[in-house]
């Protein structure tokens, strides 16, 4: 995939982006912002404010009705069906419902992005172990996801999102079902990824958590960007 010049200093850029869903409320209206490489930001707002929609637009799970989105130098409007897989490998995604494969071990789940990218066995082994070590699940490599707690499953999802070292990681309510202590642990993990240069955009409605961490916070209300607080 060709790198496009002129936006090398921006990892994510939204320009007047609108997205509406026929017959329902929600969506986004004229949203503009940008994130620099290595930046970390929270995305907050009530449910239905458009947090998930925004993340889906970044990961090309949805396409906007209007406006332009650039991610890691790519104009997303120019990415067709064929280039989509290559683009997705540059964006790690974490979901509230984990989206793990129930019939595969933790190791195989985390290995998936490397397997689809055609990495060698040795490389897969090395990187998966490193990722599992990072999230503290090295000992559970052979377990099936159902045997893990919610927090552990979430960490498997995180390991999978970062195992191929994508420049951008998106997280949609990663602490949604977790108690405050576990939530803080997860956030600490994100901070560590951020420190090695990963750009992170984390959607959460857990305002308590957001307040406690000195991090840039984008606030959505009814599809509009109404706040951009920097620490």
């Amino acid at each position: 995939m060709r790198e496009q010049t002129g936006t090398a200093h921006e990892m994510i850029r939204f320009e007047n982006v609108s997205k509406s869903y026929p017959g329902s409320q929600g969506g986004l209206h004229e949203v503009s912002f940008h994130l620099e490489p290595g930046e970390m930001a929270f995305l907050t707002g009530h449910s239905g404010a458009g947090k998930s929609t925004l993340l889906k637009l970044v990961g090309l799970l949805e396409r906007p009705n209007r406006g332009q989105i650039r991610v890691n130098g790519h104009n997303l409007g120019r990415i067709g069906r064929r280039q989509l897989p290559l683009f997705r490998r540059q964006v790690g995604m974490i979901f509230q419902d984990h989206r793990l494969l129930a019939d595969r071990t933790v190791f195989d789940n985390v290995a998936l992005p490397l397997v689809v990218a055609g990495q060698s066995r040795a490389e897969i082994r090395r990187r998966v172990q490193a990722a599992l070590d990072k999230v503290g699940l090295l000992k559970k490599a052979k377990a099936l996801p159902v045997t893990l707690s919610g927090g552990e499953q979430q960490r498997v999802g995180i390991a999978r999102a970062v195992v191929s070292r994508p420049p951008v990681v998106l997280a949609d309510e990663p602490t949604g079902n977790l108690d405050p202590e576990l939530s803080l642990e997860i956030m600490e993990l994100f901070r560590q990824f951020n420190q090695v240069g990963v750009t992170l955009l984390i959607a959460t409605h857990d305002l308590g958590l957001v307040e406690r961490l000195p991090t840039r916070t984008l606030t959505l209300r009814e599809g509009r960007l109404v706040g951009d607080r920097r620490p």
């Binding site: 889906k56 990961g59 799970l61 069906r81 897989p85 290559l86 683009f87 997705r88 490998r89 995604m93 989206r99 793990l100 494969l101 998936l112 992005p113 689809v116 990218a117 055609g118 060698s120 066995r121 999978r160 191929s164």
Partner: protein, 319 residues
């Protein structure tokens, strides 16, 4: 420069090996997946096998029938009616000339007297015949080809040539039986082709449908693989191999069914043949047929899976 090229070649070789390894891995893992639902998958394979065994079996029957018609000893013959009122010397020279023909085998001469006697015996019109003032029948020569396996066309040409003798009034090639038989064989051949085409379509649909269900069952997995950047080729691969396995296993089972049928038919067929004084036996499918069945099976499998995958994979997108 040279070193860089060598490095590039090494890289290519490495990538080729990785590519082969990936295919090999999917090759076996897709077979393993079939094992996970043995009963349901066995039923699908059985349906495929029956659909393949039917035309293959019919083909075998037609093949054997053709062989039978090739060796239909003594079925072909010709009758030469000579000119009326030919004197015995001329008849004798003709007979000698006919005996010298290399393609003419057995030869039987009936004088008008013999012919009339035979006619009287067989026709049941003895009274009417005795009213005739003179014998209306000519000399008749019955001939058989020297080579009993002679093709119909060559035999017909021979008879044409014999008709050119001035002593011969009419020459009739008695090929009707052989030709009818061959006509029937041709009809069966055409029918087999049509049946094979229809049942191939059925195999295609069965495999396509099986793969379609499999895709539905693994919808969530496909979504997740797409989410982490799996290409279409990557997602398609295991399903194509699965189709291949269905086709291949179906072909193997079809051959098994075929061999079993042949085994069961062997006894009655040779008993029937013996009643006709023949040592005819059913011939098993040759290596070419076996190869064709395996090839057809696996190709239909891949094609059926490809159609199913092509239809379905684009709709499945992560949300």
């Amino acid at each position: 420069m040279n070193r860089r090229r060598r490095a590039a070649r090494l890289q290519d070789r490495f990538q080729l090996r990785a590519w082969l390894m990936r295919h090999l891995q999917v090759f076996f893992s897709s077979l393993g997946r079939l094992w996970q639902r043995p009963l349901g998958n066995f039923m699908s394979v059985l349906v495929i096998a029956i659909a393949m065994a039917l035309p293959a079996g019919l083909h075998l029957v037609v093949d054997n029938l053709e062989r039978l018609s090739d060796h239909w000893e003594g079925a072909a013959g010709a009758t030469l009616f000579l000119q009326q009122g030919l004197d015995d010397a001329k008849v004798e020279t003709l007979l000698q000339r006919l005996r010298r023909e290399p393609q003419v085998g057995e030869l039987k001469h009936l004088t008008p007297g013999q012919a009339l006697a035979e006619f009287r015996r067989h026709s049941g019109m003895a009274d009417a015949i005795s009213l005739l003032e003179e014998n209306p029948l000519p000399h008749v020569v019955l001939i058989r080809p020297a080579d009993p396996g002679i093709p119909a066309e060559r035999f017909r040409a021979l008879v044409e040539r014999l008709r050119d003798h001035p002593e011969v009034e009419r020459a009739i090639a008695d090929l009707q039986w052989v030709e009818r038989f061959q006509g029937m064989v041709h009809l069966l051949q055409r029918g087999t082709t049509i049946l094979a085409a229809l049942l191939s379509l059925a195999v295609l649909l069965v495999i396509g449908n099986t793969i379609r269900l499999e895709i539905q069952n693994r919808r969530q997995e496909i979504e997740i693989v797409k989410l982490v950047g799996g290409s279409h080729a990557f997602i398609r691969r295991p399903f194509l191999y699965e189709g291949f396995w269905y086709g291949l296993l179906g072909a193997a089972l079809a051959l098994l069914l075929l061999s079993l049928s042949l085994f069961l038919l062997h006894g009655p067929v040779s008993r029937l043949a013996r009643l006709y004084g023949s040592d005819f036996t059913l011939e098993s499918p040759g290596p070419a047929v076996v190869l064709a069945i395996f090839l057809t099976g696996s190709l239909l499998g891949i094609l059926g899976a490809w159609i199913a995958v092509h239809q379905q994979l684009q709709e499945i997108e992560p949300t």
